[in-house]
């Protein structure tokens, strides 16, 4: 106990006494500061024209969009050379990795089809199984049929290699292949 501590007379409870120390100054200042902050914060957001949380979200989203470089999300494949991609082992590796990360959950390890359709047979449900059709499927999906859109999840530069990898699966006849769905495309 330091010298300026003073016991309060008559304050004794089961042997516990109390000192007459003042409120610590720094503590009191902290308390006042938080009250000033609270008043200012409340006034800014609720009384004056501070942004609403919806406005803040809109501004944040607009800023993110304005930073987005123009990435071609075109599924026009006329300029993509499928044969070149199929022959490019780097591209096929990128495609295979993306397939392993995003597609096997529903289309099986080897594209044999589990939840989603078999990708190795000649039957297609929504397209002709060509590069354009597969790119549309990857980007926009067919939510009504259970295929989610992956355009926002799979980086755009991987779309074409992935589509080419899917094309390369055709005719691989994996074990446990799912029964055909859709129309045969010769």
């Amino acid at each position: 106990m330091s010298n300026d501590d003073k016991l309060i007379e008559g304050h004794e409870y089961d042997g516990i006494q109390e000192l007459d120390n003042p409120l610590p100054k720094w503590w009191l200042m902290t308390f006042y500061a938080t009250i000033v902050f609270a008043i200012g914060y409340f006034a800014y957001y609720q009384i004056f024209d501070g942004p609403t949380s919806q406005e803040e979200l809109n501004a944040d989203l607009a800023e993110i969009q304005s930073n987005q470089p123009e990435v071609s999300t075109s599924t026009d494949s006329s300029e993509i050379d499928v044969q070149a991609l199929l022959a490019n082992s780097d591209a096929m590796k990128i495609g295979e990795e993306a397939f392993g990360q995003f597609c096997i959950a529903c289309h099986g390890q080897k594209g044999e089809g589990t939840i989603g359709p078999n990708l190795t047979d000649k039957y297609w449900m929504h397209s002709k199984g060509d590069l354009t059709g597969i790119l549309v499927a990857i980007r926009d999906g067919f939510p009504q049929k259970g295929m989610p859109p992956w355009g926002q999840v799979i980086p755009p530069e991987k779309h074409a290699p992935l589509a080419a990898y899917v094309i390369s699966l055709k005719g691989t006849n994996p074990p446990n292949a799912k029964a055909p769905q859709g129309n045969p495309i010769e």
Binding site: Y45, I115, D140
Partner: protein, 712 residues
């Protein structure tokens, strides 16, 4: 004349219960921790899966471990501070055995899946009534003891006990207003946003008035007793007590920041949480500065070690709380393991260590002997504090890592980690570290059990301690200000009630008029009978313990999960399912995202679909039959509560549900599900609910037409 002696028998009973239930709470926590590190620890047993174990762990830790510790300390210290035996030994015993019976009923019903899914208020309505009744017994016993007290003034510890008993009663009763639909099933009268608001007013203040104020009361008694020093500042006691209870009650909305909660309520949550910092630290300062001149005891006395560490953890947690209530910090920390770190700094550090210190102090006195081994108690301290630090640091790192991964947007304006499981896989190693921390905490506790057991059996007899004469008799001498109030238990209690009622009323009246917030033009369709059956399965399995249904108004949430959730979307949700933790992804808009077969395979074994998933499997949903029979009763209760079901829907709810189930079962088989007779299985009802999530509003799937065109 028994009135000449303290009743320490009930204190010894509560201490033993604290130790027993503490061990169970800690072990349940360790198992839950291991389940998150590896889903194999769910053992495919329904009653042991994470979703059912987690509520058992939290309820056991809060109401069984901390609860019994509080009662032990209150019964022991109140008698001494009042210089009076408890008002009624009978009430003390009813309180003790009633509370243990409630705990046992919780330990049976929660694993069976009887739950309201409201955090720390999961217990179903018969147990809710029992809790209210036993709490009233406790209150009568306590307040009558104050009335017959011999000591004139009430010491600060008593103030905190008064605030605790009044507020917990108000919280529990207000949050538990529900309509029974079966013996262990009810729907709350609050829906959606109301339910969220009431629940977090309750949940936040359960932390305040079950884990903070009573423990501050215990601190004010046991710390000065253990070090034999006067309390640092009486003035600080007064100011921080009243500021704390007045401000605490407002801060609940900080659990709902950036959600669909109206902005004004969020703002109140932020500012009152920030203002709570200093009043909380007032308790820490008074506790630590009371130790001045006694610091040498820190080296030698394990009781003081536990007390000092407890108060330090309290200071840490009550600084972290306001910090996490700042909206931008909350955007990072909410739904992550940072919150888990935060609450365990409080629960293990503050509540756990203060309890351990108190029990090490009390047991030798109550058994008229010396502690069996001081060195074992010291070892307990060092092992346990290592455990807490491992726990806290690993979960803080996991939370911040995952929060930053969720928010990270790369230079092309996309989510850097769009695949949710990637952010889980990254922190799984830290779940192992956390489990190790929990294991150390338990090892320490086992040393304590052994040590206390040896102490108790080494005792020749339990002492019967005579009540000494009060230091000052109760005269009518004129006093002023707070001193006068300390001599007026009733007036003090009324003032404390007013202090907690102000924030409650101001925050609630507007929310209870929920019509003002629900935009009727954008009203949503209620759940179909089958979807409601599925929803009750979702609740039973505790899916909310890992999945939120609330897309916050944050860019990263919107980019990952879709448009922000609206108030309307949960307007019929009884109970609401916004959740508080995202161990798995948000499900607010999961409906229609995957085919039925995806959910079918995923619920049977999540790792078949997402190989790195840590979700447990739910094979029993493929065996259990859906409870169609109760649907008429359930819909009629919902209709009574204001959900616009037609009489036809209510009267033929089971028929409607069976028809819908047949349709989904058919679709499943078309998609390739290789089992038959699915239509009466629970999995089908659950899939119906999951596919309905986010699909009930009017203005959804804006590009549905586009896709149809694509198909052509």
């Amino acid at each position: 004349m028994p009135n000449l002696y303290y009743d320490d028998q009930v204190v010894r009973q509560f201490i033993k219960a604290t130790l027993l239930w503490g061990l169970i709470a800690f072990l349940a926590g360790l198992l839950a921790a291991l389940q998150l590190a590896n889903p194999l620890f769910n053992f495919e047993l329904p009653w042991l899966t994470f979703g059912r174990l987690r509520p058992l762990h939290t309820n056991a830790a809060i109401f069984a471990f901390a609860g019994n510790a509080i009662f032990a300390g209150i019964y022991h210290s109140t008698q001494r501070l009042c210089k009076s035996r408890m008002f009624s030994d009978k009430l003390s015993q009813i309180h003790f055995w009633g509370w243990q019976a409630i705990i046992v009923s919780a330990a049976i019903t929660l694993p069976l899946g009887f739950t309201q899914s409201k955090e720390y208020a999961e217990l179903e309505w018969p147990i809710d009534i029992a809790i209210a009744a036993i709490w009233v017994v406790f209150a009568i016993n306590f307040f009558m003891t104050l009335k017959i007290r011999k000591e004139k003034h009430m010491y600060v510890a008593i103030w905190f006990y008064i605030a605790t008993i009044i507020t917990v009663a108000v919280l529990h009763i207000a949050n538990s207003i529900e309509v029974p639909v079966a013996f262990f099933k009810s729907y709350p009268i609050y829906a959606g946003i109301q339910d969220a608001m009431v629940q977090w007013w309750y949940g936040h203040n359960a932390v305040a008035f079950f884990l903070t104020t009573p423990f501050l009361g215990l601190m004010y008694y046991y710390v000065p007793k253990a070090v034999n020093r006067p309390v640092y500042s009486y003035k600080l006691s007064i100011i921080h007590f009243w500021a704390l209870i007045f401000i605490y009650i407002w801060a609940g909305p900080h659990h709902l920041l950036n959600t669909a909660l109206p902005d004004w309520a969020q703002t109140l949550g932020v500012v009152f949480s920030v203002m709570l910092w200093a009043p909380s630290w007032g308790g820490m300062i008074n506790g630590l500065l009371t130790l001045r001149g006694a610091w040498h005891l820190l080296r030698t006395d394990p009781v003081i070690k536990f007390f000092v560490a407890a108060i330090t953890f309290y200071g840490m947690a009550t600084f972290e709380g306001p910090l996490l209530s700042i909206k931008s910090v909350n955007a990072l920390g909410h739904y992550t393991d940072w919150i888990i770190a935060h609450v365990h700094a409080g629960a293990l550090g503050w509540n756990g260590f203060l309890t351990f210190g108190m029990i090490y102090y009390l047991v030798p006195k109550l058994y008229n002997t010396e502690l069996h081994s001081k060195s074992l108690a010291t070892k307990h301290f060092w092992i346990a504090i290592t455990g807490i630090l491992l726990y806290y640091i690993s979960m803080l790192a996991a939370g911040i890592t995952q929060g930053m991964m969720w928010m990270d947007i790369d230079s092309s304006g996309r989510l850097t980690y769009p695949d949710f499981v990637e952010t889980v896989t990254r922190i799984v190693p830290l779940y192992w570290v956390r489990s190790l921390g929990g294991l150390l905490f338990i090892l320490g506790a086992l040393l304590m059990f052994y040590n206390l057991y040896k102490t108790m059996v080494g005792s020749k007899e339990c002492p019967n301690i005579k009540i000494p004469e009060p230091l000052e008799t109760r005269t009518t001498e004129k006093e002023t200000g707070h001193r006068k109030l300390e001599n007026a238990a009733l007036a003090f209690s009324i003032l404390a009630f007013i202090a907690i009622a102000v924030g409650t009323v101001i925050e609630f009246l507007p929310i209870l008029r929920v019509g003002a917030y629900v935009n009727s033009e954008k009203a949503v369709a209620p759940y179909s009978p089958l979807e409601l059956a599925g929803r009750d399965i979702y609740i039973r399995e505790g899916c909310y313990t890992c999945h939120s249904q609330m897309i916050r108004k944050l860019p990263s949430d919107v980019m990952r999960f879709g448009e922000p959730s609206t108030i309307n979307e949960s307007m019929y949700d009884r109970p609401y399912q916004w959740g508080s933790k995202r161990t798995g992804p948000d499900l607010a808009r999961v409906g229609g995202k995957y085919p039925h077969l995806w959910h079918f395979k995923h619920m049977y074994n999540p790792q078949d679909v997402i190989s790195m998933s840590i979700m447990p499997s739910y094979p029993w949903l493929f065996k259990n039959r859906t409870d169609f029979q109760s649907l008429r009763r359930k819909l009629s209760v919902m209709k009574m509560l204001g959900v616009p079901y037609s009489d036809d829907q209510v009267g033929n709810a089971d028929t409607f549900a069976e028809k819908e189930a047949k349709q989904i079962a058919k679709e499943l088989q078309e998609q390739g599900a290789d089992s038959d007779r699915l239509e009466d299985r629970e999995i089908v009802a659950l899939i119906a609910y999951l596919q309905a999530l986010g699909q009930k509003g009017i203005d959804q799937t804006p590009n549905a037409n586009e896709n149809e065109e694509d198909e052509k």
